[in-house]
Amino acid sequence: MKFAVLSGKGGTGKTLVSVNLAAVAKDSVYVDCDVEEPNGHLYFKPTEIETETVAIKIPIVDEDLCLGCRKCVDFCKFNALAAIVNKLLVFDDICHSCGGCIMLCPSNALTEKDKVIGEIKTGISEEVKVISGILNTGEASGIPIIKDLMKKTANEKRMTLIDCPPGSACIVMESIQDADYCILVAEPTVFGLHNLQLVLQLVKLFNKPYGVVINKCMESENLIQTFCIENKIKVLSKIPFESDLGAINSDGEIAAKSEKYNGLFSELLQAVVKEVEHETVTHS
């Protein structure tokens, strides 16, 4: 069973929800897809860490073979190549690794070389396997890292929590592809509602079943709850806006391990598992 935890904006509580769900699920896998700033490991403090690098393929030119025909320059929609005075220039940072220039080159002057853009760290924290994707600073896209993370967990039988990057762009789409269910975390503000609506469009487009966790709930009127009721969206849990929870979290501790908050996350886990089982019944 794979759960993707996502939200339209950063700082809403994706990591709080996914870390704590993985912790209460016990025999589980936590995958940090927020490759620009993975921070789930701060809570799990995994050990026995294994590191693998992630590389993309970019073209390299053999100037002796290049005919200066410019087929590659004209083909590249990202303008990663320029042909100047019979010299072919390749801009590594602009290249999207599509490989088209290499396929089109009539004289085999272009070949692939590896460019390392980040790494994946895998470790163990009690019964949780912790996998973090890390994009090197300055790199344009973390998508190749997400693809490797998804490959690594494709045959995973244990419950898997995918901590997505914020927003609703391509990198989030890659992260939710294999998910059986999407948990949308939202905070009850006007901005939070706006961002929830964006991720809602995304999960509907991908035809994924979903439910909402409202984080930072206060006793006053709740914009997200009203929206969910009006649109018949399942509210899985309401996490209170409490300084105790904030303090545990900012100490880098897992709230679900405390007596006060264990119940909250255990109930959330039961709720999402029930939702997925219900989905399986209604879709089979």
Binding site: C76, K77, F78, N79, L81, A82, A83, I84, L89, I94
Partner: protein, 122 residues
């Protein structure tokens, strides 16, 4: 000698465009014939790499001199492979800048910026 200048509009009274890579046009002036032409910058609406493509277009026009308010690192890298010299434009129209260059009143552009990519730029 050919001089290239990024232009907002296809008239000599137009301001020099604030952007090199995404300028709608380039004015290409030939000092021997004292004639010039506006060419379209096909890179202006590129999703990415506009600087590289615009530099390719300017290099292909056989310009020897580029007068621009600013220029990105990638475009500068392309120009490095050519003999083209880059001068910094002053406030004013294309013709003002052309005359300023011909009167030797412009200085070389020394600083090249990293890409703006939709964030900032002023």
């Amino acid at each position: 000698m050919k001089i290239a200048i990024p232009a907002d509009e296809k008239v000599l009274a137009s301001d020099v465009c604030m952007s090199f890579g995404r300028a709608p046009y380039f004015y290409i002036y030939e000092t021997l014939t004292k004639m010039g032409d506006f060419i379209e910058n096909e890179a202006a609406n590129s999703p990415g790499g506009a600087g590289v493509k615009a530099a390719q277009i300017v290099a292909d026009s056989h310009a020897d001199i580029l007068i621009t308010p600013r220029c990105g690192e990638n475009a500068a890298e392309v120009f490095k492979a050519t003999a083209l010299q880059i001068y910094k434009s002053k406030n004013g129209s294309i013709s003002d800048n052309l005359n300023a260059y011909l009167d030797d009143k412009l200085s070389k552009l020394e600083n090249f910026h990293a890409g703006f990519h939709g964030v900032g730029g002023n």
